[in-house]
């Protein structure tokens, strides 16, 4: 039984008992569903939950779809190839070439992996039956952000040389010497801590909050439909809000995947071109 279903059962139980303790809003337990399987490997505990299954399903489905679009590539694309190609071109041309710069094309596969991985997993938040995004578990955005963090620092060192790369970050060129007292700590904080952290948190928080909104409005509608007084007015409003928020979530799904990828593109651009 999923946590949402548990919460739903709780709501209905309240109704049956005629309970006076009111609506129990869903909480953090939403994101910690019962594990389907638990095991320990080399001292690390693994818990396979329905969110993990969602991650695997979304990843696999996305990969299968993308591979299908390029299975028989043609100069004049068919419908399926056109869809895959448009998505890939959005990242390749829109981000790798235009944001990272003229030398950004080699990063297109990495950026496309990021974009489609996040997009597919975000989409799980509104996919019926799944309805929770793996990206609302901090572990997954964190993994992506750490990979990005390592990559853009590595590229910076490779492209500019370690000395120049770190010197430019520590001592921003064109800044009065006295200002280094202020600027250097900010730059260090921004480049090595804030960037990866914001990348991860932005994505995580958006999906987390989106899921909470949907759950609250959905369960709230169920609860209100079972009450007397004004619920005949507020129940439908709550249900309508749940539907509206689902569409809003669709926008967030795409936007967060795109924002994550574009930001990684700008970081890579900063590493490749010493623009300071």
């Amino acid at each position: 039984m999923t946590s949402s279903a548990l919460a739903l059962a709780g709501v209905l139980a309240v109704e049956e008992s005629g309970g006076g303790d009111g609506f129990q809003a869903p909480g953090l337990s939403e994101f910690y569903p019962e594990p389907i399987a638990e095991f320990s490997l080399l001292g690390v505990d693994f818990a396979i939950t329905r969110i993990t299954l969602g991650l695997w399903f979304a990843t696999l489905a996305m990969l299968v779809f993308m591979v299908m679009t390029v299975r028989r590539p043609q100069i004049v694309p068919g419908k399926l190839q056109f869809v895959g190609e448009s998505g890939y071109s959005l990242v390749r041309d829109g981000i790798a070439r235009d944001v990272v710069g003229p030398r950004g094309i080699p990063f297109a596969p990495f950026l496309a992996s990021l974009f489609f991985f996040i997009l597919a997993n975000n989409f799980m938040s509104i996919l019926p039956l799944a309805q929770i995004s793996p990206m609302s578990k901090f572990a997954f955005p964190l993994v992506l952000a750490l990979i990005c963090w390592v990559l853009y620092i590595y590229i910076g060192i490779r492209e500019q040389g370690a000395g120049k790369y770190f010197k430019d970050i520590l001592f921003l060129p064109g800044v009065p010497k006295a200002m280094y007292v202020l600027v250097t700590p900010i730059e260090i904080l921004q480049n090595f801590i804030v960037r990866p952290f914001t990348l991860a948190v932005r994505l995580f928080a958006n999906m987390f909050a989106g899921h909470m909104l949907l759950v609250v409005f959905s369960l709230g509608a169920v609860y209100l439909f079972s009450r007397d007084n004004f619920s005949i007015v507020f129940g439908p409003i709550s249900a309508l809000m749940a539907i509206v928020m689902t569409f809003f979530e669709l926008l967030v799904i795409f936007l967060q995947a795109y924002v994550f990828t574009v930001l990684m593109g700008t970081y890579l651009n900063g590493s490749i071109e010493a623009e300071h």
Partner: protein, 193 residues
Amino acid sequence: MSILAAESANPLLPPLGEIIIGLIAFAVVMFVFFKFIAPRFEQVFRARREAIEGGIERAEAMQAEAKAALEQYRAQLAEARTEAAQIRDQARAEGQQILEELRTQAQEESARIVARGEEQLAANRQSVINELRGQIGALAVDLAGRVVGESLEDESRRRGTVDRFLDDLDGMSGGGASDGRTGSTVFVPGGDR
């Protein structure tokens, strides 16, 4: 029990197991993208670019070819025109020549016909003169014989007389006509003398 777990957990402190699962999932995604999806798309983009550039090149080549062909046709046309003009001029000249030849031929022909006609006329006249001379001679002899009453039976004598008479006549008229009137003198057969 999940609620208990949730209460103790901080959503910003993920368990290591989840991080590893996430790493593996993203590694798989990156592998597939780097190994299959990106190279195929790049291949398609390259093929498409080449197809477009190749198309442009082909079109340019065809245009150049068409231009060359047009030039050739124009040159050929001009050549044909001058040739036609030459042929026309030649034909006109030939026509003129043929006309000239025909005209001279016709003139020659007409001259020949006229000459033959004159010859024939002369021959006819000679024969008529000869016949007349015979008949007149006979008539004259006959008449003279009747008038004189003597029969001049002897052929040779008779002829000799008549001929002599006529020669005398000729001689008389010949003296008068020798100043330029060719008519009678020309047609007198000299072989008779």
